[in-house]
């Protein structure tokens, strides 16, 4: 029976073989390919790229395949790979105002310059299972309107900004290099750069619940979806030898600008405040949640009372939003803990013996 705990090495190897077999599924059915995942499960790929902090569709699709569709596991694979990559430098800030737009909506105005562009959205679909998809489907055809000239699509924030109705976003220090949460430990209280980075990598479900909680009165901040835009932007990098920035590629991003509860003071007239969300690919739920939580976390900066709501609590939110950290620590409970358990057993037995002795002594005395 002592032998039973031995042989861990062989057990692990066999478990991994079985895992590989299970991943493949029924060999009589064609294997799913990486381009299929990239093309047909593209929103899963977008989420893995966003929370994995690495823009690489093929790699994210491969990770999803390897993880058998477990997206947190896929995010973990991408993160672990990302750590090994050399860093060449940082890009210039992307200009979302110059985005080639696929989708752009505003909930604050009926019509806006550049118009409302629905793009590919689940909104307004009836959530009825489409049984025709169970068979091989034909290639759906959709005619695309030409993407609007981005000069004709000013951001909603800039429209409000012109009138001074929304707080102006200013670089606190244009020369400062933004923090990098992947190359340092979080140090509380954090700046908004570090907060937004952490939220961008944060778990969609966790942020969704927190954002939802602000709507239900836990640090309510009266949000309006000022603008949601999805499209491609150029990534530029400053090249020392050339003396100017050159485009190195383009990426799809989703950006959300929430317009929130106004505030004013004796010196500043009332104006709306902002919450911000940004992701790789098309991650609307994530970016909206992120914007709600970003705004809630700005409470201190905006002089709001801390009402003890979870979404307002910087340490609580930032320390727990990372799903790779969270899943690791929760799942580590699977590891053996029998030494600690033995220690507790020993104490509980001792205390029970003492309690029994006390009860016995009391009985004898009566």
């Amino acid at each position: 029976m002592y032998v039973a705990v031995k042989g861990g090495e062989k057990a692990i190897r066999n478990a991994h073989r079985l895992l590989a077999k299970e991943r493949r599924g029924d060999p009589g059915i064609a294997e799913v390919s990486v381009p299929q995942i990239d093309g047909q499960l593209s929103l899963a790929v977008d989420r893995v790229m966003t929370e994995g902090s690495l823009y690489d569709r093929t790699l994210a699709a491969l990770a999803i395949k390897q993880a058998r569709g477990d997206l947190i596991e896929a995010i973990f694979l991408v993160r672990a790979y990302r750590t090994t990559l050399p860093r060449f430098g940082g890009s210039e800030p992307i200009k979302t105002s110059e985005m080639v737009i696929r989708r752009r909506i505003s909930a604050t105005f009926k019509d806006v310059p550049g118009g409302q562009l629905l793009g590919p959205t689940f909104d307004y679909t009836h959530r009825l299972i489409d049984f025709s998809l169970a068979a091989e489907s034909d290639c759906p055809i959709a005619d695309l309107a030409p993407s609007p000239d981005n000069a004709a699509v000013p951001t909603i924030a800039s429209i409000l900004d012109r009138e001074g109705l929304v707080e102006t976003e200013v670089d606190s220090d244009p020369t400062a290099v933004p923090g990098d949460v992947t190359s340092g430990a979080l140090d509380f209280p954090t700046g908004r750069d570090v907060r937004l980075q952490t939220l961008a990598r944060g778990d969609e479900g966790f942020l969704l619940a927190l954002g939802y909680s602000t709507q239900r009165g836990y640090a309510r901040n009266h949000a309006f979806a000022g603008e949601i835009r999805v499209g491609t932007v150029a990534v530029e990098m400053f090249v020392e030898e050339l003396g100017f920035a050159v485009p190195i590629g383009e990426i799809t991003v989703t950006e959300v600008q929430m317009v929130n509860q106004f505030k004013g003071s004796s010196t500043v007239p009332p104006q709306f405040t902002r919450g911000y969300g940004l992701s790789f690919g098309h991650c609307e739920r994530k970016t909206m949640s992120m914007a709600l939580v970003d705004r809630a976390l700005r409470g201190r900066e905006l002089g709001e009372d801390h009402v003890g709501a979870p979404a307002q609590d910087e340490e609580f939110v930032l320390s727990h939003c990372d799903n790779v950290q969270a899943t690791g620590f929760v799942e580590h409970l699977k590891l053996p803990h029998y030494v600690d358990f033995q220690s507790e057993l020993e104490l509980v037995r001792k205390m029970r013996r003492e309690a029994a002795a006390r009860a016995g002594a009391q009985e004898a005395a009566e």
């Binding site: 705990v5 861990g8 090495e9 992947t182 590891l335 507790e344 104490l347």
Partner: protein, 297 residues
């Protein structure tokens, strides 16, 4: 062991011990700072490892940063070399660093551990690397990092003493049996990682360097060789360690930490050394326990 033949081969496609040299330098700087301020938790830029957080990523990064090609590595979990996660970590370093590994405590130059300190006293030429889940001993009394850092800075440890006092008032005992807080060199209260308090006395004036890595929490701390490590207690409730009223069933040791194994559903139990190497050495040296004696008869 019999499994050595099937061990993974060194894969030179990885940088030695997986981490890039710059990262290792960063970790070494944190380690040096930690040694200079015994028991103080040094923040470091913990990397994402190809193993999950909570599974020893901190200890692995420390090991990777101090490992050299000449080292002999031992990895234990719950005191044993053959527990699954210890096997996995040992294989990781065999594959990425190609270093020699051993199960013999006496032969190892670096020992990475989870939840135990080996029974055999360690030497000056050895380093003990602990895997740490929650490096902050005050965390369960005060969840906020901003608060606990201030408490450490002010050496304000009343909270911890009140907790231990309340334990005695309620239970008659200090109800902490593992991760029992220690004070290092009279200054910082430090978490010994979730080792049983049985192991705490071994930390005091240990000739070996003790390094602690917490990957998810991004902290490294250290106890230099021959440093005073005191387990917190009260004059009228002195610190005591666990004791068993029976020896190891296999090697007969009476001074080791014993694991309890359930042998049937009728209340059958056997107790054996949690330190598998120690038990093995004793058996090889001819020691027997109640169960091995029964078998021989």
């Amino acid at each position: 062991m019999s499994t050595a033949a099937e061990a993974p081969k060194y894969d030179p496609a990885y940088n030695f011990a997986f981490l890039d040299e710059q990262t290792k330098r960063m970790i070494r700087r944190a380690i040096l700072k930690a040694i200079a301020i015994p028991g103080y938790q040094v923040p470091f830029a913990s990397r994402e490892m190809p193993m999950p957080y909570g599974w020893g990523t901190g200890g692995m990064q420390v090991t990777a940063a101090i490992l050299g090609p000449e080292d002999r590595l031992k990895v234990i979990d719950q005191g044993a070399d053959d527990t699954t996660n210890a096997v996995s970590i040992r294989n990781f370093f065999r594959r990425t660093a190609g270093v020699e590994t051993t199960e013999r405590t006496a032969d190892a130059t670096i020992i990475q551990t989870r939840h135990r300190i080996p029974e055999l006293p360690l030497r000056e030429d050895q380093i003990l690397v602990y895997q740490v889940p929650i490096p902050e001993p005050l965390r369960f009394l005060e969840p906020r990092e901003t608060e606990t850092r201030t408490l450490h800075a002010l050496k304000e440890y009343g909270l911890m003493h009140v907790k231990l006092y309340e334990d005695i008032a309620i239970h008659g005992h200090i109800a902490t049996t593992y991760a029992y807080p220690v004070q290092v060199s009279g200054r910082y209260i430090t978490d010994p990682s979730p080792t049983p308090k049985f192991d705490n006395p071994k930390m005091n004036h240990m000739p070996a360097l003790q390094l602690f890595g917490a990957g998810r929490e991004k902290r490294i701390y250290a106890i230099p060789p021959y440093t005073e490590v005191a387990s917190l207690d009260f004059e009228d409730h002195p610190f005591t360690i666990q004791a068993w009223d029976r020896p190891c069933d296999i090697c007969g040791a009476e001074d080791t930490f014993l694991d309890e194994m359930v042998t049937d559903d009728q209340g059958g139990r056997m107790f054996i050394c949690s330190d598998s190497d120690h038990c093995e050495r004793r058996r090889t040296a001819g020691h027997t326990g109640p169960m091995t004696r029964d078998a021989a008869e």
